[in-house]
Amino acid sequence: MHDSHDAPHGFWTRYVFSQDHKVIAIQYTVTALAVGLVGLVLSNLMRLQLGFPGHFDFIDANRYYQSLTQHGMIMVVYLLTAILLGGFGNYLIPLMIGARDMVFPFLNMLSYWVYLVAVLVLLASFVVPGGPTGAGWTLYPPQSILPGTPGADWGIILMLVSLLIFIVAATMGGLNYVTTVLQARAEGMTLFRLPLTVWGIFMATILALFAFPALFVSGVMLLFDKVLGTSFFMPAIVSMGQPLAYEGGSPLLFQHLFWFFGHPEVYIVALPAFGIVSDLISTHARKNIFGYRMMVWAIVAIGVLSVVVWAHHMFVSGMNPAFGFFFAVTTLIIAVPTAIKVYNWLLTLWRGDIHLTVPMLFALGFISMFAIGGLTGLFLGNVSVDIPLSDTYFVVAHFHMVMGVAPILVIFGGIYHWFPKVSGRMMNDTLGRWHFWLTFVGAYAIFFPMHYLGFLGMPRRYYAYENYAFIPESAHTLNAFITVAALVVAAAQLLFLFNLAWSARRGRLASANPWGATTLEWQTPDTPPGHGNWGAQVPVVHRWAYEFSPPGQARDFVPQNAPPDAPVE
């Protein structure tokens, strides 16, 4: 909205209130990782209680449920959504499509600061009387706004307000990303030459724009119910022996609205990861991505279908039972485009020239994690199999494999991959490998056994499992094992943090294109790219993003902007 947008000079305009998409991306990433760290600590608090019940008396039932809720919400919304769209999206979209910046830089900056406010409001809920809400990240009413749930007064209000603010931020960012992709592509950059990273983020952003309003509506209505005493979601209730003044509302309405947002949300975090991992695999296997068009259509199909599967989270919610058929069918249909993506990643590896760099390790780890997590999704999508498994640790295992770990691995892989471009330095390889192995193997150790606790019937969201006859002693031992693994994995993240901090100052200097990648962001005149990204001339694109190892070329890659008549020597 500003008229002039010259290269800024002062410290404040350059590093704090910057309108440069690269700076904003870093701000988003750092903030998201910082709250992510809070989420990680909370998960370990939960694990301590679950693995060694009663040994840590500062984790009482209240704190447990508060940790659970904040852990889930932070990870899904404030970490993953923010880092993938606000961080990776912001950094990569303009660079990858050959633009000088987002089309609305000021809006972009605003988006970050509003996001920061959302984070601060969220964190503020930790210090208000009663603490943060402990209603579970799904915030189901009536429970979320009634006594008997921790944080039912201040906590829930701040939670909802923070979400509403977050949605405003996400919408500002989203409008920007979509418009930028549509309007600011460099000459020759057709939609079907976009790198899959951009496709993934683009589709995820469209989904976000149309799914977040559902959360907004349910959030505002829930606030009304809490603060003004309306009965949108609240039927007549006797709470703790007290009859309340509510009447006639339907808790199921909230669940429908929530999941109408919630399911697309899980793909909002999955699609960018799909895109990024495609680029990592192709680049580090030195081979073009297999079936590019199929990959694009799969992204579009997943995006579209993901809006009509939401009630698979509600198979045992008491909704109209006839819906089960519809949603089971649509849910399993989604597996087909997803499967196509997995096949194409695998086939990209085949007959490749696989460099087992750190980003590639994370990408391979992602495929393995995502496959198992997606496959367990098929149990849950198949109505009748979901019924015994719903709300057990099987579900917890499913979504951690597919969402908790898989996209996180991609984020790590992406950071190792793009760090040289962002900072001009390489990250330390040895530390990176240790980080990968501990995280990957550790995550298997944490979440694979959880499936079996789920088969056994152990319900999720339980503070303690004492004196249940059907739970054998061995299950408690297993829980202790899982806790130890979780602590180790959490500690391993310190390697990553150290590596980040150390490499940013001391890392080996990177060349402009250390991985030999084809996409535009590696072809900038400066590393890190300067203000305006491209120096005097924006690039002109001549080919798709995956021209690796073409026959008859000396080098094993051709950048997208290399002129066709002058092959790179």
């Binding site: 039932a61 008997g148 081979k287 087992l356 391979l364 098929l378 298997y444 088969f455 056994l456």
Partner: protein
């Protein structure tokens, strides 16, 4: 290279874990073997894909890892292959989905002759209701809930007068007879979950949900609440006792009927004060957090409280007299008991009610009455 080995090890470890793990579905206790079969079909298909995907990565890494002079093939797409894989996946999906849907169709159509039982949830306890001789359950509404009518039955509905009420954790069911379970909640979402019977459903305030099954094995089974319902969620326990028809009928016959129970509970104040206190505590949901057998649950147990010393969170001690109990009820946050969170909501009870509860708590001492 290491990644290939690790992936192979993971596959082997996963298969070994599956084969050797002592953790698996609880032994089936209902007619829903079909669900287990569908699960097995799904497990076989997905298991095969899991193994295939990981081994494929391993093989690809071993065969095509970078070596000096290697160059990748250039292969943008291969229609036949993509075509074939898509179909293969579709076949796999149909193989899982088809049986699943067939089973589901059965799951949602209860047999006509099923025994009807209503389960009522409230934070954090269970109650049950069986139809009386007329075979019909009476209607209900939350506005009828009171000390003498904990389930909120409609006093004017003749169908409800003979309904048998079981307020408390225990539910008995006859062996081998289909049961249609109607679910209702007084406050928040709950979920009636007995792992060995496989099927279950949420309990939603403001509506009635249902599911059905036939118990096929006698015994005592844990009833769990599997929908987050507040701090006491993990402690919302019940017991389902499956027994031969005759035993069940004996148990059922011993249950109070709605109309009669109302008469008894409506003893006017000035009758047995402690009994009135118990009724109030029941209706107000105190037992969700306070046990009366001395065990600690969400809140401190009530047995052995009255007249004894209580240690407060700030380290001070005091003697629990009627005034303390009154304060604990009306302003629970004023004096916190050590080791408990400040979660108890304040209750605006009148003096008579508070006195009744105090009398009831006092009566718990010394096991004089043997409540519960």
């Amino acid at each position: 290279m290491a990644i290939a080995i690790v992936l192979i090890v993971i596959v082997i470890a996963a298969l070994a874990f599956h084969a050797l793990s002592p953790w698996w579905l609880t032994p089936l206790a209902s007619n829903w073997g079909l669900i287990d079969d569908t699960l097995t079909v799904t497990l076989l298909i997905t298991g095969a894909v899991f193994v295939a995907v990981n081994l494929f990565i391993a093989v690809a890494v071993i065969r095509y890892r970078h070596r000096h002079g290697r160059r990748a093939a250039y292969e943008p797409e291969n229609r036949k292959l993509e075509h074939g894989l898509t179909w293969l996946t579709a076949v796999g999906i149909v193989a899982m989905l088809a049986p699943g849907l067939v089973v589901y169709a059965e799951l949602i159509s209860p047999p006509k002759d099923a025994l009807v039982v209503e389960v009522v949830g409230q934070q954090w306890q269970w109650a049950y209701r069986f139809p009386g001789e007329d075979g019909r359950l009476g209607t209900s509404a939350m506005r009828f809930v009171g000390a003498d009518n904990p389930l909120g039955l409609n006093p004017a509905d003749p169908a409800g007068r003979d309904d048998a009420l079981a307020v408390g954790p225990e539910l008995h069911l006859p062996l081998g007879r289909p049961v249609r379970v109607l679910l209702r909640s007084k406050d928040v979402l709950h979920n009636f979950f007995v792992p060995p019977i496989r099927t279950r459903m949420d309990m939603v305030p403001g509506m009635v949900t249902e599911f059905w099954f036939t118990p096929t094995r006698a015994g005592r089974f844990d009833i769990l609440c599997a929908e987050l319902c507040g701090v006491g969620h993990y402690n919302m326990r019940g017991v389902m006792v499956v027994e031969p028809q005759a035993d069940f009928e004996r148990w059922l016959a011993g249950l109070p009927r709605f109309a009669a129970a109302r008469q008894v509970a409506a003893t006017p104040p000035g009758g047995d004060l402690a009994a009135r206190g118990r009724g109030i505590a029941q209706a107000r949901g105190c037992f969700g957090c306070h046990s009366v057998d001395g065990a600690a649950s969400v809140g401190p147990g009530w047995r052995g409280l009255f007249g004894h010393e209580v240690e407060l969170a700030d380290g001070s001690r005091l003697k629990a007299d009627a005034a303390y109990i009154a304060e604990s009820i009306r302003a629970p946050a004023a004096k916190l008991v050590k080791g408990y969170p400040p979660i108890m909501p304040p209750y605006a009870l009148d003096d008579g009610e508070v006195a009744a509860i105090a009398a009831y708590i006092a009566s718990l001492d010394g096991a004089a009455d043997g409540t519960r």
